[in-house]
Symmetry: C2
Amino acid sequence: MSLKSSTQSSGPTPEHFFQSINAFQLTQALRGAIDLDVFTAIAEGNKTAKALAESRQASERGMRILCDCLAVTGFLTKAGGKYELTPDSAMFLDRRLPSYVGGAVEFLLSPTLMQAFEDVAAAVRKGGTVINNEGTTSPDNPVWVRFARAMQPIAFGMAKMLTELIKLDPGKKTKALDIAASHGMFGLAFARQYPNLEVVAVDWANVLEVGRENAEKVGVADRWRALPGSAFDVSFGVGYDLVLITNFLHHFDPSTNEKFMRKIHPALNEGGRAITLEFVPDEDRAEPPHAVTFALTMLVTTARGDAYTFAEYEKMFAAAGFSRSELIQTPMGIERVIVSYK
Amino acid sequence: MSLKSSTQSSGPTPEHFFQSINAFQLTQALRGAIDLDVFTAIAEGNKTAKALAESRQASERGMRILCDCLAVTGFLTKAGGKYELTPDSAMFLDRRLPSYVGGAVEFLLSPTLMQAFEDVAAAVRKGGTVINNEGTTSPDNPVWVRFARAMQPIAFGMAKMLTELIKLDPGKKTKALDIAASHGMFGLAFARQYPNLEVVAVDWANVLEVGRENAEKVGVADRWRALPGSAFDVSFGVGYDLVLITNFLHHFDPSTNEKFMRKIHPALNEGGRAITLEFVPDEDRAEPPHAVTFALTMLVTTARGDAYTFAEYEKMFAAAGFSRSELIQTPMGIERVIVSYK
C-alpha cells in the first residue's frame, strides 16, 4: 500500500490524490489478470492481445486493454504490439512454477478482508474492527483455512529464510512449538532440516487439517503433532527448545500478548528461544512502509491488534520473564524476526 | 492507477505484486480520511493523533494508525508525533477551500463504479461491461447526477483551462453546443467569458437540473438553454460556433462516434470547431499512464467505450466531414484537447 507520487511537479497538483483514490482499480486489474491466468499464457508464448484472447477464450479488445494496463503498471513490457513478462512476473506470476504467488489473492482479496476495509472511518472512530466484536480472531474463523491454502507458497520462502537464521543442534533430540501453525510451513521447514526435531502445531482444528496434509507431503508426519484449539487455552506441555510465533501477536493488544508470553515461558527449556516473525515498524513508525500500513489491516480486522515496534515487543517479552530480545533484519525485508531468550 | 515499484532490488521479488494487489487498501484509507475530514482537521491546527481524535470523535489509536498510513503514502508528513499537510493535501483536501477535490469520491467510489470493477476478468472475456447491456450509458442513469455534483470542482479548473486555449470573437454574437453538459461547467466558463455567447446544453433531464442551478449561480441563465435527452437523438438546430464534447466520446465505439460527428457537422457554422476533451493515449498506448489505464474504466463500465488515440479520433472526424483536427497538450496533463474544424 506504499505509493508515493513518482513525479513531483513544481506547484501543488491533485494528481497523487486521484491516482491513490483510484488505486483499487489496480487491485482489480491485477486480480482480473490472475483470474484469466494471463501471465502464464504469455510465458507459454502468447505475446499479442489476439493470441492471448484466443488462449483464454476472451475478447481481443478486453485483452488489449488489460495488458496495456499491466504494462503501464510495471507487470509487463510492451513493444511493437507484443507483451513480455518482467523478471518479477516471470518468477512469481507464472502458475506453472512453485514460486507462483498469485494464489494469495484468495486470502488477501477474500470477502472478509475486503469487507473489513469498506468503512475505515468507522474502524477509526471505534478504534477496532467493525465487522464483529473479534474480527478475524473469532474462534474457528474460516478465513484462516483460506489463509493456510493461499499463503502457503509465500510462507514456504519465509520459512526457509527462518531456518537459515535460527539454528538448532542437529545431533540433539529437540522440540518446537509452532503457534498459529496454519499451513504448517514454519514448523515443517525446521522438521525437514532437523531429523531429531519434534514439532507440536497449535491452531484451530479446521486449519490444522491443512498443516497435517503438508506434514504428510513432506514425510515428517511421525514427528508432527496437531494441538487444536486457542493458543491462549490449550496446554502446551514443557520441554521446548523453540517456540515459533509467526504472524500471531499482531492480532492482539499488548496485555494479551504479555499474558501469552507468560504462558510460553515455562514451556521452554533453559536457553530456549521464542522466535517472533512480524511486521515491525521502526520506533517512529515511518518505515518500512509495509510494516507501518499493516497496522491498518489490524485496525480494521481485529479488536485491538497492531503493528508493534521492537521496543514494544521487547517490553512485553521482558515483562513476561524473558531475559533479552534481539531484532534481526531479514533478507526478504518485509517482515522482521525477534529472538527472545528464556 | 499508474504505480511502478519505486525500488528495484537485484533479483526478482514479489514485492510489487503484493503492493499492487493490496492497492485497494490505499483507496479505502484515503476514503476513510476524507469521510473523517482529517485533512481539514489538521489544517485547523489539530496536529497529534490525540487532538485529531478529539476533533473528530474518533479513537486516538485509530487516528494514529490512519495518519501513519497517510504519512507513509505521501499525504501527510510526520515529525515528533505531529502530522502536517503536504502542499498537495493543503490545497486539494482542505474542505474549506474551493480547490477541495475530496468530494470526487462520491462519483469515483460510487457503488456503480466499484461494482463495475469487481469482475475485470468477466469484462475482458466479454469485451465490455457486465453490469448490464449498456453499463453507465443507459438512459437517465443516476450515476451521472452523482458525477455532476462530485466532479464539479475539478471540472471548474479544467473548464478555465479550456477557455484559455480556445478563443471566440468577444464582439460577435456566438453560439455553443455543450454535449453531455453535466454540471454545465464547460459551457458556463465560456458563457461567463463571452457576454454575447449563447449556450445550449445537452444531457439527461435529471442531470441538467444540476447544470441549471449552476447557470443561475453564475448569472448566465438567460443565455443558457437546457436541451434534455440523448445526444444521439435530440435535434441540435444550427448556427453553432463551438461544439464542446467533453468526456463523452470515450463511452462509445468508433462507428457510433463517427455517426455522432456526422450529426454535429451540419450544426456548425462555416469555420466552426468541435472541441473534444479526452483521455488520449499516445499511438503506442504506453503513455501517459492515466490515459492508458482509463481504457479499463471504459471496458468495465460501458459496452464498447475506449481511450482513443489522436490518430483514431482524427480518422473519425475526417470520415464525418471535418477538414482537419489538431491535438493540443494541456497544461494540466491528464486530459488532452482535440480541435476539429468544419
